[in-house]
Amino acid sequence: MKHKLLIIYLLALLLSTGCWDINEIDRTKFPTYITIDQAEKDNFLFSAQFPIVAEEAPEETHIISNIAPSLATGFKEIQTRTIGWISFGMLSTIIFSQELAEAGLQEHIDALWRNPIAPGSLVLAISSERAENIKNIEIASRHEIGEYLQFLFETTARNSLLPKKTLNDFFTSFYIKGRDPHLPLLDYGTNEVDIIGTAVFQRDQLVGTLEKKETRALMLLQHMYSKGELSLEVEDYMVNYYVQEAATKLTPYYEDEQLNIKVDLELDVDLTEFTTYERIIDNPQLLEKVEENLAAALKKESHILFNKLQDYQSDILGIGQILKSEHPEDFDAATWHQDFALASVNVSVEVNLRRLGISS
C-alpha cells in the first residue's frame, strides 16, 4: 500500500507541474531594435520596433515609444501597452543618440547585460542625430528597420573597414584597464542608414568622433583580419586597394620618462582600380610608387588618428593593456589617459601589393 501511495504521489507531482515558463511564440513580442534618446529631466525616450505577425494586421511593424528613467522601467511600461510578452531574445541593435552617449552609457546597458536572454552579440551604435528619428526612414528593401540594421552591420563589417561593436565588446573594453570602447557612428538618410565613422569613448562617455579615413586606419591597426576596400586619390587618378591582410605591431615603451608608441603596420593588398593608362606589369617603379602612395597616406591617417585620440584622451587601441602586460611597472591605471595623451607616436607602414586583378 505504501508503494502504491508513493507511485500515486509521484504521478500527481508530475501532473501538477504546470507550464510556468510557457510563452508561445505567437504570444511573444520580439523587439528587433531599440533606440534611446535623452528626454526631459533625467528621463529617457525608449523606442522599440516589434514585428507584427498577424497576417490581417494593417501594418507589418509596430513602433512603441515610452519615456522612463531607465530601460527596464521603460519596457515594463511598454509591456502593459502591447499584447504578448516582450522578449529581448531577438534584439539585434541598440542605437543611442550622441547627446545621450556624452552623458554615459553604462546605466543603459546594464539591464541588457544582466538579462540572460539578450544576446551578447547585440550591436551597439551611436546616431549623430536623435536616435528615434530612425522610424522616419523609409527603407526600400525591407519592411523592418531592425532587420535592415542587422544585415547592414553584418555585411558592412565584413566587406569594408568599418567597425561593428557588440554589447560584449563594449562591456569588456569598458571594464578592462588600459583600453577604452568605441562604437560605430551612424547618420540617417531619407532611405538608408549610413555608417559615417567611429564614436570614441573615454570609459562609457562619448568624447569625440572619428571620420571614415581615421576609422579605416583604426580598423587596420586593430584587427589582423580586417578586409575591405581602400581608395586613394593620387595626382589626377584614383587607386583602389583591397586589403587582404593587415599585420600590426603596437609597441609602447618608456624612454627618458617619455612614453613612446611605435606602430608597425604591414599590409597585403590587391589592386582593384587604377585609373591611368600606365601598365604596372612591366614597370617596377610604378608598382613601388603605388605601394608607397598608400603607405604614405596611411601613415598620415594614422597620425591624424593618434592626434585625435590623444586629444580625446581615449585609448581605444588598448595600448595601455599592451604596456601593462609587457611593462607592468610602467603602467599606472589612474594617470593612463594623461600619459597616453602625452605620448609620442611613431608610425611606419609597409605595403605589399600582391595581385593586380585580371588587367595588367
Binding site: H3, K4, I7, L14, T17, G18, C19, D21, I22, N23, E24, I25, D26, T28, F30, T32, P51, V53, A54, E55, S87, G89, M90, S92, I117, P119, E147, Q150
Partner: protein, 526 residues
C-alpha cells in the same frame, strides 16, 4: 525499493496444475486392453482421435492398435508404410516369444519403413507422443510401444522477410515450422559444433523449443543460465517466442526489448557466430537472440554485406533517427514555447505568423497530432494490405492538410509529425522502434513542463535505465557503458571487415579471434 515495487505488481504465483498429471512411471502393460483403457481414460475422448484395430500378419493372429490424431498424420504414410507391411507382408504363425524377440531386437525387423520411429516404454510418454502428432503402435503381448513419425503438419512455404526487409542479402525468412527453421540454419552453418537442443515448454501447449548455439563459441555458463531460467517457466501455454522473452527477461518492467527477435536466418547465423544463443519455438516464425545489446537493434545484416562506408553512414542515420524519434516533438515544443532565441530571427517570425490563430498551445497541438499519427499507423497495420498502405497516405495528406486548412494545427507541426513518423521507420527492428515511439510522449510532456531541462531529465532517465539493464548478466548498453573500446568499431560505425577480427567482448564467448588477418594484401602470394 524497485524490488518492492516489482513484488507489489507481482501476483501470488500459483503452481499450474498439469492436466497430464499422470503417473510418469507407469509402464506399458503386456495386455493391450489395459493399455487402451488407460489411454482412453487419460486422453479426452476427442472425435479426431483414431483407434485403428488390426492384426499383424496375414494370418491375423496378433492383435495391434494404431492410435493417432486424424488431422495430424499423413494417411498415405500410415496406409502404405505401416499398415500394409504389417498386415500383408508378414506371414506365418507368429509365436508370442518370437514377436517379443523381434521387437527387442530392432524395429527394422518389424518391417515398418519409416525413418522416425522410436520405442517407448511409459504410458505417459505414449500420450505425449500422440498429442505431439505421432502415431502409436501398440502390440498385444508386448510391453513396449512404437512411436511412428508420420506427422503431416500444414504450414507456409518459405517466404520473404515481412518486417525485416533488406535491400541486400538473402530474401528468406523463417516460417512457423521449427523443422524448416532449423533446416534454414543448418544450411547456412555447416559446423560440427552447432548444437540444437530440443525441449518442450508450456504445460498444455507442449511447444517444441530449440536452444541453438555453437558449442565451442558460446559460454557454457550462459547456456546453463538460459536453461535454468527456461526450466523455471511454469505456464500453461507458449504461443510465440515473445512470451518466452518476457519470461527470461532480467528486468521484466523495462520498456526496452532485452532480447532480439528476428525472422532472418542470416542474422541468426551471424549472432550464433558471435557466441550468442538462439531460441526458437515451433509455431513462431521468429527466433530470439540472447544476450542482446542495445546497439544490435540498430544494426541490419546488410551493413556487413556492403562496403563499410555505406554501413557506417546508414548506422549513423539510424542512431540519429532513434534520437529524433524520441525527441523531435519535444525539441519543437521547447523551441516554440520556450526558447525562441534559438530559432533564427526570420524563421521565428514566420513560425509566429503560421501559429497565429491556432487555438491550442503547441504541446497540445503536438500531442493531438502525434496521437492521431499513432492511430493511423495502427489502423494501417490492421487493415488488409493495399488499403493499409492507402490509409497512411490518405491520413497523412488529407487529414493533415484539412487540419491545417481548418486552422487546428500549424503547418510546421505537420512537418514535425511527418518527420517523426518517417524517422521511426528507419530503425530496422520493429520491437526496438515501438518503445522509442512510446517514449516520445513522456518526453513531450517533460518538454512542455520544463523545456530543455525536461528534455535533458528525460534523456538522463532513459540513459540511466539503459545503463542499469542487463541481458543475461551482460550489460545491455555495452559497448558504450561500460565502455569497451575494441567493440566500438562495430557500433555507430562499422569498421572495415578486416578490422573486425575479434568477436565482440560484450558477449561472453570462448574464442576471441574470428578471422586471420593474413591475406590483407591482395597481391601477396606464398
Amino acid at each position: 525499493m524497485w524490488d518492492k515495487i516489482k513484488k507489489f505488481f507481482k501476483s501470488e504465483s500459483k503452481k499450474i496444475i498439469n492436466r497430464l498429471n499422470l503417473d510418469s512411471h507407469k509402464k506399458i502393460n503386456e495386455n493391450l486392453k489395459l493399455n487402451l483403457n488407460y489411454i482412453k481414460d487419460n486422453l479426452a475422448a476427442s472425435s479426431d482421435l483414431v483407434f485403428r484395430e488390426f492384426y499383424i500378419g496375414a494370418d491375423k493372429n496378433l492383435a495391434a492398435q494404431l492410435i493417432f490424431f486424424d488431422a495430424l498424420v499423413k494417411d498415405e504414410l500410415l496406409q502404405g508404410k505401416v499398415l500394409k507391411p504389417l498386415m500383408l507382408e508378414i506371414t506365418g504363425n507368429l509365436e508370442q516369444t518370437e514377436i517379443k524377440e523381434q521387437v527387442n531386437d530392432t524395429l527394422t525387423e518389424l518391417s515398418i519403413p519409416i525413418s522416425g520411429a522410436d520405442i517407448i516404454t511409459s504410458l505417459e510418454q505414449v500420450i505425449t507422443e500422440i498429442l505431439g502428432g505421432k502415431a502409436i503402435l501398440l502390440v498385444d503381448q508386448v510391453d513396449k510401444a512404437f512411436s511412428l513419425d508420420v506427422r503431416d503438419w500444414q504450414g507456409r512455404e518459405i517466404d520473404k522477410p515481412g518486417i525485416e526487409a533488406s535491400t541486400r542479402g538473402p530474401q528468406e525468412a523463417f516460417n512457423e515450422s521449427l523443422q524448416t527453421n532449423i533446416a534454414l540454419i543448418r544450411k547456412r552453418l555447416q559446423d560440427n559444433n552447432l548444437m540444437i537442443e530440443i525441449d518442450n515448454i508450456g504445460k498444455r501447449t507442449n511447444t517444441e523449443l530449440a536452444i541453438t548455439y555453437i558449442e565451442d563459441l558460446a559460454e557454457p555458463e550462459l547456456i546453463d543460465r538460459i536453461k535454468y531460467r527456461l526450466d523455471n517457466i511454469d505456464v500453461d501455454g507458449i504461443l510465440e517466442i515473445g512470451q518466452i522473452n518476457q519470461y527470461l527477461s532480467d528486468n521484466w518492467l523495462t520498456i526496452f526489448p532485452l532480447f532480439q527477435t528476428t525472422e532472418r536466418p542470416d542474422r541468426v547465423v551471424g549472432n550464433l557466430l558471435e557466441g550468442r544463443v538462439v531460441l526458437m519455438i515451433d509455431g513462431s516464425p521468429f527466433a530470439s537472440i540472447m544476450p542482446t545489446t542495445f546497439v544490435q537493434f540498430y544494426q541490419s545484416p546488410e551493413d556487413y554485406y556492403d562496403q563499410f562506408y555505406i554501413g557506417t553512414a546508414l548506422r549513423i542515420l539510424r542512431f540519429a533517427a532513434a534520437f529524433l524519434t524520441i525527441s523531435l516533438p519535444a525539441i519543437y515544443i521547447s523551441l516554440v514555447s520556450f526558447r525562441h532565441e534559438l530559432i533564427p530571427h526570420e524563421l521565428a517570425i514566420s513560425l509566429a505568423e503560421v501559429r497565429e490563430g491556432v487555438p491550442f498551445p503547441s504541446y497540445l497541438e503536438a500531442l493531438i497530432m502525434e496521437i492521431s499519427l499513432e492511430l493511423l499507423r495502427e489502423a494501417g497495420i490492421r487493415l488488409p494490405g493495399p488499403i493499409g498502405e492507402t490509409i497512411g497516405i490518405v491520413g497523412g495528406l488529407i487529414l493533415g492538410d484539412a487540419a491545417v486548412a481548418a486552422g487546428l494545427v500549424s503547418p510546421p507541426m505537420v512537418i514535425i509529425v511527418a518527420l517523426t513518423a518517417i524517422v521511426s521507420f528507419l530503425i530496422p527492428n520493429y520491437e526496438a522502434a515501438v518503445p522509442l515511439r512510446l517514449l516520445r510522449f513522456p518526453m513531450m510532456f517533460l518538454a512542455a513542463s520544463f523545456s530543455t531541462y525536461g528534455i535533458m531529465i528525460g534523456w538522463l532517465l532513459i540513459l540511466i535505465h539503459l545503463c542499469s539493464l542487463e541481458s543475461f548478466g551482460q550489460p545491455y548498453f555495452a559497448p558504450f557503458a561500460p565502455l569497451k573500446w575494441s567493440d566500438l568499431k562495430d557500433t555507430i560505425i562499422r569498421a572495415p571487415i578486416r578490422l573486425l577480427s575479434k568477436r565482440p567482448l560484450s558477449v561472453p564467448n570462448q574464442q576471441q579471434d574470428r578471422q586471420d588477418r593474413k591475406g590483407e594484401d591482395p597481391n601477396e602470394m606464398e
